[in-house]
Structure formats: C-alpha cells, structure tokens
C-alpha cells in the first residue's frame, strides 16, 4: 500500500484519496485544452467554464473504461460531454441576462472579434448552401438549444426524420467547411 495512504484507517478514505489523485491526473492531461475550448461556448465566462470542465472530468472519471480509448476519441467524447453540460446550463439560465467575464491575459485560444466575425460569415455561407431540409433541422435543434423531440414537434415531422436529416446535414456541412479550409 502506498505509504501516503497507509496511515488512513478506513477504506473509503483511501479510495477517496485515490479518486482525487486520478481526477488530478485527468486535469493535468485534459483540463487546460478543455477549459480553452469551453470558454468559447460560455461567452468567455471563466467561472462557468471552470465548473463545466470540473463536471466533465468527474463524469470522465466515473466512466473510466472510456479513458482506455485512444486519445483522439477521449478528446472528442470530452468535448461532447462538456458541450452537453454547457447546453443544459444555458437552458437553465436562459432567462437570466448574460454575465461576461472581463477579458484576461490568457486569451491565446480565443479568436479576436474580427477573426470570429469572419468565420461566422464562412459558417453562415456554408449553412445557406445546404438543402432547406438539412439547414432547417440544424437551425431548429442546435442553434436554438432545442432537443430532437422539441424540434420534431415544431417541424411536424417524426423525431427519427429529424435525426437522420441532422446526420446528413451535419456531414454535408462538415464537407463544405473542410473545402473552405476552416479548421475546427
């Protein structure tokens, strides 16, 4: 047994300490990049972004079998988990006015205004060149923070149809953006 944990009397305490250690390792590995990523979707709200990263890494730790995946898959999964947490948070606070953190020195990964406006134009163009059916499901779900079921009701089509249009629409959008050389 590890000497640091050896003096602890209960198993719980030692498991707890081990858990803490593993979370610390996860933080070290993914915390920084994840925080930079999440800040973009929290409108640069640092406190909120830190909470999202923490919750994401706790979930990762609870699903530790997935941490055996290859790193690019772990990263993709963590981004998706974090995004879901941000969306849930935004739904909860949607009635409250947005509080924006003042900009900090550590802004390297956050594009400045003009860069962001430019890529917004590129993405808007790509979205416009999709078929009506594909554009519509992307707008009615992700862009409005709605679930598949909610969008299906609004559009008057079955949820399965929304899912499959979303799938082909998202793939088409990705192809368009890749052709335009917009990296993710």
């Amino acid at each position: 047994m590890c000497p640091v944990l050896g003096h602890l009397d209960g198993r719980f305490e030692s498991a707890d300490a081990e858990a803490e250690h593993r979370i610390a390792v996860l933080y070290q590995e993914f915390g920084g990049p994840l925080l930079r990523h999440v800040r973009k979707s929290t409108g640069n709200d640092l406190q909120w972004a830190e909470d999202v990263v923490q919750e994401t890494l706790v979930r990762a730790w609870r699903n530790s079998a997935r941490l055996q995946w290859e790193p690019s898959l772990i990263w993709a999964w963590l981004l998706t988990v974090a995004r879901r947490i941000v969306i849930d948070g935004r739904r909860r606070k949607s009635v409250r006015p947005h509080e924006v953190e003042p900009p900090e020195v550590d802004m390297m990964a956050v594009p400045d205004g003009s860069e962001r406006a430019l890529s917004a134009i590129v993405v808007a163009d790509a979205l416009r060149s999709l078929s009506e059916e594909h554009r519509e499901v992307i707008e009615q779900t992700y862009l409005r923070d709605r679930t598949i079921s909610e969008a299906a009701e609004i559009l008057g089509i079955p949820p399965g149809t929304v899912k499959s249009r979303l799938y082909y629409g998202i793939r088409a959008l990705r192809e368009l953006l890749r052709d335009k050389g917009v990296a993710g």
Binding site: A76, W77, Y167, I170
Partner: protein
C-alpha cells in the same frame, strides 16, 4: 442508431437517448470514428450563436407566434 451520432455530438438528444447512445458508442467503432470527425463542428456553429448579427438573415430568436 448510427445516425444519432450527429444529434449526440450536438448535445440535442433527450437524456435517455443520450445515455443509450453513449452505451452504443462504447462498442461501435463506426460511431467512434464519426464522433472524432464531427466533434469540433459544433464549435464552428457556435460562431453563429455568438455573433447574432448575420445582417441578411433572420435573427435566430425571431419566432413569430
């Protein structure tokens, strides 16, 4: 189930569907590969959410009732 990967990556599945898809993902290599491909696309869509000033477009929240 495979086509749910897009809805999953966008975070727009219902809670139960989201969890069911994650279990599917654990064993489906095709969906794992697609997740990697699509994982950063929503960030690009976020550019539109964060800049609601696409002048010649309807603003997203202009639902008429």
């Amino acid at each position: 189930m495979h086509d749910e990967v897009a809805a999953y990556v966008l975070g727009v599945l219902d809670e139960e569907e989201h969890e069911a898809f994650e279990r599917h993902l654990d064993t489906c290599e095709q969906c794992q590969a697609e997740l990697i491909e699509l994982a950063e696309l929503p960030d690009q869509l976020d550019e539109l959410k964060n800049t609601p000033s696409a002048s010649d477009d309807d603003p997203p929240m202009s639902m008429s009732r």
